[in-house]
């Protein structure tokens, strides 16, 4: 039962074939069996999950038919959850018990979803392999010697290993889509501002966006119906009405114009991933879509511009961790400056400190124009490339990552790690919606296909992904896990 999609589980719950309490128990058992080896969860909320499941069953008896009522969910440990530790994968917040729910968590609670726990992640969402977590790396369920991707690696691995039905993630440069690709699940980053960032611990505020990690595009649509919408508490939240994201799922793709960026099929892309994506493109042609090569001439600058914008914003956001109001404080400070410095040096890991320093340097006196302003101008060029592309095509499709999941410990050079997000970062800079869906296997590891739409074209992206999943069963493949 635990391998089913949320849509299928919802039917079982509605028909009375099982209760949310039974379902929740199954997932909690599965977590007990597998979390020691996968390290997907930082916190498991056994007691409150069962209480939430009981409440969901009562709501159903009372006639509530909310689609996610009683469905067990895992939240990335970046979303504040009232009364539960919210660590953000950092020693800095190891003992931080959030005093309130983030809007995302509150919305899922209101929809009746059952929170199983909080998932592991790269520290402050800075990483592409989950190896920067203070709580140790997550392991990829397809091969436990490999990384699950990052930064939402715990959520992606949990969905892949059936430790939960659905999960949340956040994506600043690819942190939902790349782990979804590596773990063979569906991961969707909505347009910037589509989902409230309130109560979601900030990394880079002009890029961060929350989204679903789940087993199908149809499930992603159901989750988006809960997550999306304007939130007065987030001043960057989009004041645009949210769609019913399930409405266009069944629209035909006959006549769909797909653009494939020549820069995403160039040097660096592995043969097996290219083969998987090319096969997927022929599936779209069978459905009546036409394929056209497009040019994103500034794509190669996206990683450079991102590594100014994201660290600069991070250095400002993370200045709040000073050992005064909450979080870690060093032992026996001799004076205030000693307290700030040792608190931050002991509380943050190496990658977080590196990014704070790069961002501080880029924003320091005399360098603003050469770095931050220059990067914002490059950001405009990157957005213009997409604007031009969407004059000619409906969606842009390519690989999510140049290769499949790599081995733990194999990328110790930060710059090599940064280049992991070469196909996903531009989408964050431009604020667009993008999904990764499973599209083939290579040597026993999943391949991810990236589908990008124009701003607020979430429904279109989900429609294209869903139609592909009706034709293929890559998203139903499961890793063989030893219990």
């Amino acid at each position: 039962m635990i391998e089913k999609t949320a849509v299928e589980l919802s039917q079982l719950l509605t028909s009375g074939a099982c209760s949310s309490v039974e379902l929740t128990r199954e997932y909690l058992n599965r977590i007990k069996q597998l979390n020691d080896s996968l390290n997907s969860f930082i916190t498991v909320c056994e007691e409150t999950a069962l209480l939430q499941a009981e409440a969901a069953d009562e709501r159903r008896v009372a006639g509530d038919t909310s689609p996610l009522l009683g469905i067990p969910i895992a939240h990335k440990d970046i979303f504040c959850s009232n009364g539960v530790t919210t660590s953000c994968g950092s020693r800095m917040l190891e003992n931080f018990v959030a005093p309130y729910d983030s809007t995302v968590v509150a919305n899922f609670n209101a929809a009746g979803a059952v929170m199983l726990g909080k998932t592991n992640m790269d520290e402050f969402a800075m990483g592409s392999s989950n190896e920067t977590s203070y709580f140790g790396p997550v392991r990829n369920p397809w091969d436990t010697e490999r990384v699950p991707g990052g930064s939402s690696g715990g959520s992606a691995a949990a969905v892949a290993a059936d430790l939960c039905a659905i999960a949340t993630g956040t994506d600043t440069g690819g942190s939902i889509r790349q782990p979804a690709a590596f773990c063979g699940v569906t991961g969707f980053k909505p347009s910037y501002g589509r989902v409230s960032r309130w109560g979601m611990i900030a990394f880079a505020s002009s890029l961060d966006q929350a989204g679903p990690i789940c087993k199908s595009a149809e499930d992603a649509a159901l989750m988006m119906n809960v997550m999306a919408g304007h939130d007065p508490k987030d001043s960057t939240s989009a004041n645009e009405p949210a769609d019913d994201y399930t409405r266009e799922l069944n629209q035909s793709l006959d006549g769909l114009k797909i653009g494939i960026p020549k820069q995403h099929f160039a040097e660096g892309l592995t043969e097996e991933v290219e083969r998987g994506i090319r096969d997927a493109l022929t599936e779209f042609e069978k459905l009546g879509a036409t394929i056209k090569e497009i040019d994103l001439p500034n794509n190669h600058l996206s990683v450079s511009a991102y590594y100014v914008v994201a660290p600069a914003e991070a250095s400002a956001n993370l200045s709040r961790y000073d050992g005064v109001r909450y979080g870690y404080r060093c032992a026996d400070p001799v004076d205030l400056e000693d307290m700030y410095k040792r608190t931050r040096s002991e509380g943050f890991g190496d990658e977080v400190k590196r990014r704070i320093m790069v961002g501080t340097y880029a924003l320091s006196a005399g360098f603003y124009d050469a770095y931050y302003r220059k990067a914002q101008k490059i950001r405009r060029l990157i957005k213009n490339d997409f604007d031009n592309a969407f004059k000619e095509v409906d969606v842009v499709i390519g690989p999510t990552s140049p290769h499949t999941a790599f081995k733990l410990g194999s990328k110790s050079d930060p710059v090599a790690m940064y280049l992991e997000d070469i196909y996903t970062i531009a989408v964050n800079l431009a604020g667009l919606p993008g999904i990764s869906v499973p599209a083939g296997m290579a040597n026993g590891l999943p391949i991810g296909m990236h589908i990008v739409g124009d701003v607020f074209a979430e429904s279109r992206v989900l429609n294209v992904a869903h139609q592909y999943q009706l034709q293929t069963d890559w998203h139903k493949q499961k890793p063989a896990l030893e219990l």
Binding site: P99, A238, R329, Y340, I356, T360, Y371, K374, R379, V415
Partner: protein
């Protein structure tokens, strides 16, 4: 732009981070690599390009200046490493 150990110390001070002697060389070389990656954008002419601050070019909304938050001082202050009588405690600043 050369980034050397003296720059590391300056930036670490600005960011209130302590970088030990043992770490300094490695930190310098890692950050130099990152700055080299970043510097690829310097080759592009952006003379007449308008900077993009918000991905959707939206501006911040205004709201009425009204108190909407409830007072939760005690609960929030309970999270502090050290507090007393409604105040946050830090090492002594003024003699």
């Amino acid at each position: 732009m050369a980034f050397d150990r003296s720059e590391v110390e300056k930036v670490a001070q600005l960011a209130r981070l302590h970088i030990s002697e043992a770490e300094a060389d490695e930190v310098t070389s890692r950050i130099t690599d990152i700055l080299n990656l970043i510097d690829q954008m310097q080759a592009v002419d952006t003379e007449n390009v308008e900077p993009l601050a918000h991905p959707l070019d939206m501006t911040q909304p205004m709201r009425a200046d009204e108190v909407t938050e409830e007072n939760r001082r005690d609960e929030l202050q309970a999270l502090a490493p050290q507090s007393e009588n409604g105040l946050y405690l830090v090492p002594k600043v003024i003699e």
